[in-house]
């Protein structure tokens, strides 16, 4: 029995509602079931790394925002850390706390958007709007902190650009007190929904071995059952002083490493971020927010690599200095790029609707892929 079927080539993107930006997938499908989905990246390449070689060290900071605009604080922090390491700078403790506060707030912003986007890609429009509503509140906090709502450039080499405004801690705690019940409501609305479970559980399963082999990072890696978080395992900044758990995928509804696990891990990480923020607000010392920095930054000849745990996982900055005012080479390693590489393998034999779920659950952000 062999009915001759013809494969249809579908061009998903660069403009497609579910690719979250300009990503293109060349999908070969036999009706609803795809045989292959090959990602085609590069539509959003802005030569940020090359710009890093032209700018002075300080001047590159705003560009790091654009490397991952949904998680700009984390990107800022990583770059600041690598330059500080190269210069051998010590930064004040208050500045470290401010950076962690900013980074964790940003993690909430990024994760909540990702959760909403997954829900929307599965077809529920409401969770996305609810998530955006909460995101706006965090954005308000960010605006109070640094005057920006998306591309912050808050972190500076040697510290941060401004101290907290007066009343910021109270306002943030008030927000967190309201945000926690919202997360419970969100959990009630989305991951406990039967259709949502049916659509995500067992879909796009990335095994532990695959996750490691394909170099997945961050929540995607942890959802596959790998207990690895840079904040704990290669700790930096003030994270050693803070108590937090690293949520790992357990396959509560299906298999470890499915889309549902990735969703749940992000929800749990938001809860951990809430707890981290509370600890930071309790512990933050008085002091300077910007340390002593040289007027002209000319690090010694050498190279340096720093990894931070961004919202999408391990974000690494590799810097080579030739002793001049500009870097000789800047390289940014991002999580979304490696996430893209596994799509081709996992998506074989998937249904078209599942591909959308799968991509959304990986939380790929177009600018971060191409930089």
């Amino acid at each position: 029995m062999g009915i001759q079927t013809e494969e249809m080539m579908l061009n998903m993107g660069p403009q497609h509602p579910s690719t979250h930006g300009v990503i293109r997938f060349v999908v070969k499908s036999d009706g609803e079931v795809m045989t292959e989905a090959v990602p085609d990246v590069g539509y959003l390449h802005r030569s940020i790394e090359k710009i890093g070689e032209i700018c002075e060290y300080n001047g590159f900071m705003p560009y790091t925002d654009r490397a991952d605009y949904l998680s700009a604080m984390n990107a800022n922090q990583g770059y600041a850390m690598v330059v500080e390491k190269l210069l051998g700078l010590e930064i004040p403790e208050r500045a470290e706390y401010l950076r962690v506060i900013a980074a964790e707030l940003n993690r909430i912003i990024s994760h909540i958007l990702s959760l909403g986007a997954v829900a929307m890609d599965i077809g529920a429009a409401t969770p996305f709007v609810l998530a955006l509503k909460e995101r706006e509140k965090v954005n308000d906090l960010m605006e109070a902190l640094c005057g920006q709502r998306l591309t912050y450039s808050y972190v500076r080499i040697g510290g941060v650009s401004y101290d907290m405004p007066p009343g910021f801690i109270e306002r943030s705690l008030k927000f967190l007190a309201d945000f926690e019940p919202f997360m419970d409501e969100f959990e009630n609305l989305v991951p406990e929904n039967k259709i949502f479970i049916e659509r995500t559980a067992g879909v796009g399963v990335i095994t532990r071995e695959d996750a490691i082999a394909y170099n997945l990072v961050g929540p995607n890696l942890r959802a596959s059952g790998v207990d690895w978080d840079l904040r704990r395992d290669m700790t930096y900044s003030v994270y050693p002083k803070l108590q937090f758990e690293v949520p790992v995928g357990v396959g509560s509804q299906g298999v470890v490493g499915d889309s549902f696990d990735r969703f749940i891990v992000r929800i749990k990480e938001i809860k951990q971020s809430i707890s981290l923020l509370k600890q930071c607000f309790a512990q933050i010392p008085e002091g300077d927010f910007l340390g002593e920095i040289p007027r002209v930054m000319k690090p010694a000849v050498g190279e340096c690599y720093v990894r931070t745990e961004s919202s999408r996982g391990d974000m690494g900055y590799y810097l080579i200095s030739d002793g001049s005012k500009n870097a000789f080479r800047v390289r940014i390693r991002t999580g979304s790029f490696t996430s893209m590489s596994i799509i081709e393998k996992i998506s074989r034999g998937m249904m078209l609707a599942d591909l959308v779920t799968f991509i959304a659950s990986l939380d790929v952000v177009a600018p971060e892929i191409d930089r």
Partner: protein
């Protein structure tokens, strides 16, 4: 009021059926032929309605348009190379078909003109559903049951075919 309209409505329905039937036959585009079925099926349903066969008219719409025509459409859309614009209805074996069609035409014509028609002056509009139901379950029970058995076997057969194909494709993947 309806009586005075009848010739007009009949003429319109006949025209619709004739035009769409011609379209089905002569259109060079497979998909147009399939869609033109809509006109002829609706027209026939209209004729049934005119004859007072309300149940039949609606079932004609339901089964022929909702079922058979959509099935045709599926089949046509799944034809390989349907994306190709130049795909046409090739007229095959005109030499055989034309004489056959002519023979059919003349014999039907002869039949129509030689039959004595009993013209019913007024069409009685009365519900037919109950009567059809009664007949199906009394006088025509056996044919009715036979048809249902046929349908059941078709259903089971298609499921078996689909399953076999599914299994094959699974084996191929593994």
């Amino acid at each position: 009021m309806l009586d005075s309209l009848q010739p007009l409505v009949f003429g319109m329905l006949a025209l619709i059926i004739f035009i769409s039937a011609a379209f089905i036959t002569f259109s060079r585009n497979l998909i147009y032929s399939a869609f033109a079925l809509l006109g002829s099926f609706t027209g026939v349903a209209g004729l049934f309605a005119m004859l007072g066969a309300d149940f039949l008219a609606v079932v004609q719409l339901l089964v022929y348009i909702g079922g058979i025509m959509v099935l045709y459409l599926f089949a046509v859309l799944m034809t390989s190379g349907i994306g190709d614009v130049r795909l046409t209805n090739r007229s095959i074996a005109v030499k055989i078909a034309l004489p056959l069609a002519l023979v059919l035409f003349f014999s039907l014509g002869k039949l129509i003109f030689e039959t004595e028609w009993f013209a019913q002056q007024t069409v009685k509009i009365a519900p037919t559903t109950a009567a059809i139901g009664d007949l199906l379950l009394t006088k025509y029970l056996l044919p009715f049951e036979l048809v249902s058995v046929l349908l059941l076997s078709t259903l089971i057969g298609s499921v078996a075919l689909a399953r076999q194909e599914l299994r094959n494709s699974k084996e191929n993947h593994d």
